[in-house]
Structure formats: structure tokens, C-alpha cells
């Protein structure tokens, strides 16, 4: 089965924030005013009711200030750290089309997914005590529609399609940019999380951190150990302890009172 993806061509983003509005509208989210801190960015950070943020990364080159616009939302990893960390079965669902979706009926609000996520995306709501993030509009893609942000994008900075097609498209766009003299152009599809279903074309792929993207993200080692070897150790100790005690009794029996009172 083909999996779906979103391609973000940062070279075409004009920072219009239409995708933010579309996301809020489609997902029926009320907007909570943040603090104004001198930036054009809508909010400083993602929020439980704000899943799609255009970061206005301020970047200085040759004494000139420029904006490196980048869209910040769930990356829909091929190997999702949130899913590895989640203790509640069915709270995080990895759909066959590649979307990593949260099912809030099963979410218990522990916040382990926040720790598991290498992109710092899920946000715990203090009111509902559940965790929220972009669903890549799983309710729209399920019926053949493109996600709301992509539907509304006026510059075709955002495209929706199969992951294979979009990886190809990202490569050809990169080649195009390089031919145009943007030598450092490249694709952001980090291998440390098995690749992502949200792909970027960056004008300077050598420095993803300028776009607010982690350079080499991976599921944290602590989470991999916790859900791997530590889990085996736990099973070994519990099963070994119970069986060990039982067979100790079978072999040696109880302690006898060997001494008499004086």
C-alpha cells in the first residue's frame, strides 16, 4: 500500500499563515491569544489547541536579515517515538497510510509521548488532560481529501500525495534549485526516525537547525532502552523471582525450627 505524505517546500513559503487558519478551522479549535514578543510568528510555540505553526526563523546572512519560514507540526515519523513510549493501547495509532494519529478516547494523559517525540510536538492540555497534535487530517485523508493546510496553501509550498511521489518531487525540486544556483538545497527526511511522512525541501539542507528542525533526530536512546532491554530485564526479574521462589520451596521446603528454647 502506498503511504501518504506532505511535502513542504520552504523556498515557496511566503508566511501567509493561511495553513494555520485552515488547521484551526477544520479541526474546530478555538484560538487562544498568546503573548506578543516582537515576532511575526502567531505563537511562540505549538499548543494543545494549535497544531500547525509557521516559524519565522530570523536569519542573518551578509548583514541582511531574512526570514526562513518553516512549518512546524507533527512529522508523522516512520518509526514514531511517541508510539514507542505510549503505555495506553490504542491511544496512538499508526495508520496503514503512514499517519500517526492520537485517539483521545484511549489517551490517559501521562505525557510519555512528549518524552518519546524527537521533534517536541505533542502538547498536554491542562483542561482535558489529554495530548494533542496534528493528525495530518486523518479524517480528511480517509475520504480522499487532502489535509486542510495543503488545501488552502496559495503558493503550492505544500503538496499532498504518496510518499514515493513526493520524495521524487522533492528530489527534482532540489535539482531545480541547485540548477538555479541554490547549491545547498536538499531534502529533509531524517533517517534516524526511519524517515518521515512530512518532507521538507530546504534551501540550506546542511543547516536544518536554521529552520528550527533538529539536525539528526532519532527516538531517544533512553526511550529505546526503556522499551527494549529494560523491559526484558523486568520480565526476567518478575518471572525469575516468582518461579525461583516456587521451585526453591519445591526443592528445599520451608525453614525448620532447629533450635529448642533454652
Amino acid at each position: 500500500m502506498h503511504t501518504v505524505a506532505k511535502l513542504i517546500d520552504t523556498t515557496l513559503c511566503i508566511g501567509c499563515k493561511a495553513c494555520e487558519v485552515a488547521c484551526q478551522t477544520w479541526n474546530d479549535q478555538e484560538f487562544t491569544l498568546g503573548t506578543f514578543d516582537g515576532s511575526y510568528q502567531t505563537l511562540p510555540d505549538l499548543a494543545p489547541n494549535f497544531w500547525n505553526l509557521i516559524k519565522f526563523n530570523e536569519f542573518e546572512r551578509g548583514g541582511k536579515l531574512s526570514w526562513l519560514m518553516s512549518k512546524y507540526q507533527c512529522m508523522h515519523c516512520v518509526d514514531p517515538g511517541c508510539l514507542r513510549a505510549c503505555p495506553a493501547p490504542g491511544a496512538i495509532v499508526h495508520l496503514k497510510n503512514g499517519i500517526v494519529d492520537f485517539n483521545h478516547d484511549n489517551c490517559i494523559g501521562c505525557g510519555y509521548c512528549i518524552t518519546g517525540c524527537p521533534f517536541d510536538v505533542p502538547r498536554l492540555s491542562p483542561t482535558t488532560k489529554k495530548v494533542y497534535k496534528c493528525s495530518l487530517c486523518s479524517d480528511r485523508t480517509a475520504v480522499g481529501l487532502e489535509p486542510a493546510c495543503i488545501k488552502t496553501c496559495p503558493t503550492n509550498c505544500l503538496t499532498f500525495g504518496t510518499r514515493e511521489d513526493l520524495l521524487e518531487k522533492a528530489q527534482s525540486r532540489t535539482a531545480e534549485l541547485q540548477a538555479d544556483g541554490v547549491a545547498a538545497a536538499g531534502v529533509y527526511n531524517p533517517a534516524g526516525v526511519g524517515g518521515t511522512h512530512v518532507l521538507y525541501v530546504l534551501a540550506n539542507a546542511a543547516r536544518p537547525e536554521d529552520y528550527g528542525l533538529p539536525r539528526d533526530p532519532s527516538v531517544p536512546l533512553a526511550v529505546r532502552l526503556w522499551k527494549g532491554p529494560v523491559k526484558w530485564l523486568g520480565s526476567l526479574v518478575v518471572a525469575g523471582g516468582i518461579l525461583g521462589a516456587f521451585f526453591h520451596y519445591v526443592r528445599y521446603g520451608p525453614k525448620k525450627e532447629h533450635a529448642d528454647a533454652e
Partner: protein, 205 residues
């Protein structure tokens, strides 16, 4: 009917503290196991569902930590390892298979019990500290959370391993031990067999 001679072993205060610790431990451990593995998530339903368990497991752990602090205050002074205890630990393998010649006599607590006490105290400090981090993930720095998701289960595994041995020793393996913690008394021959130094000290008094 001839009444058995009784020696007081654990007073009401000690027994109450012990069983409060046991109950809160059991709650924290079982709800913790529910969140530990999807295969054990059915335990969450036994205790009222995942949301309830996520809400109350930290409180169960907090109650246990508080009770354990009370227990620590009561018993820490009696848990210091002396030279006999160190010798006992070297011969613990012989004690385990009931070959007790050459195994030093024990006081009120044997060296195994003392080790359990100290290891549980350490595990509880680790569990409580990392538990606080996991309780409020939204305000905790990422590095602390990453350390906590590793240390919390490791401390729990160590603790549960010790408690499995403790429950076995306190019930099936040493007849009379459970009664000492429930009703508070033992027979003189029990004391002479398992805690001879304590038996002698108590008899002399």
C-alpha cells in the same frame, strides 16, 4: 489446653506501618505494572481504567514513600550491619539451602532483612524522585524526563525483585514469620532458631 509461650516480636505500631507500606506498595506496583507493558494493561481496568490509574498511581507512590519514611525512622537504627552480618552475607547461599552450620547467629533482623531494608529505602528515593518528574511532564526539562523514564522502571524492577523474595520468605519459606507481622508474636523456639542473638537478649531482659 496448654497455652503456647509467646514472645512479642513486632508491636502494633510496627505492624501498622508495615501493612500500610505493604498495601500502598501493592497498589503502586500493580498500577505501575499496568502502565509498564501493554500486556499488563488489563490491570489498569482492574483499578478503574487508564485515566484513573494515571491519576492515582503517583498518589499511591507518594503514600508509600511517606509510610516508608516513617518506617525508616523506626527501624534504621536497628538495621546497621555488624561484622556477623557481613559474615552472614558471605554465607547467604548456605542459609538459602538450610545448611546453617557456620552461618552466624542473627539479631532482631538478619542480614538479608537488613539488605532488603536498605535496598528498598534506596529504591524508594529513586522511585519518588523520578516519579515526581514523570508526574508533571509538561513542566519538567527533557533531560530529566529522559533520565526518569529509565531510572523509574529500573528502580521498580530492583524493588519488585526484592519484594518477591521478601513475600516468599515472610510466608511460605519461614513458617511463623507471617504471624509475627500480623499478630505480633513468635514462639521461643522460633526466635531461638531464626534470630538467636535477639532471642538471648530478649530472654536475659
Amino acid at each position: 489446653m496448654q497455652s503456647e509461650r509467646r514472645m512479642a516480636r513486632f508491636d502494633l505500631y510496627e505492624r501498622t506501618v508495615h501493612w500500610l507500606a505493604a498495601l500502598s506498595y501493592l497498589y503502586a506496583a500493580l498500577t505501575g505494572l499496568a502502565l509498564w507493558s501493554h500486556k499488563l494493561y488489563w490491570l489498569a481496568w482492574v483499578f478503574g481504567g487508564g485515566v484513573t490509574v494515571r491519576g492515582l498511581h503517583p498518589w499511591g507512590g507518594t503514600i508509600f514513600a511517606v509510610v516508608l519514611a516513617v518506617m525508616f525512622r523506626k527501624w534504621a537504627g536497628q538495621m546497621k550491619l555488624d561484622t556477623d552480618d557481613r559474615e552472614w552475607l558471605r554465607k547467604a547461599h548456605k542459609y538459602a539451602v538450610h545448611e546453617e552450620e557456620g552461618v552466624p547467629e542473627s539479631g532482631r533482623f538478619n542480614a538479608g532483612q537488613k539488605m532488603l531494608f536498605w535496598s528498598q529505602a534506596l529504591a524508594t528515593v529513586l522511585l519518588f524522585a523520578t516519579g515526581l518528574v514523570l508526574w508533571w511532564p509538561e513542566v519538567m526539562p527533557r533531560t530529566l524526563r529522559l533520565a526518569a523514564v529509565l531510572i523509574h522502571p529500573l528502580a521498580a524492577i530492583g524493588s519488585i525483585g526484592g519484594i518477591i523474595i521478601h513475600i516468599y520468605m515472610g510466608t511460605a519459606a519461614v513458617p511463623g514469620a507471617l504471624r509475627s507481622m500480623v499478630q505480633g508474636w513468635v514462639t521461643p523456639s522460633w526466635a531461638a532458631s531464626h534470630h538467636r542473638k535477639w532471642y538471648r537478649e530478649s530472654s536475659e531482659r
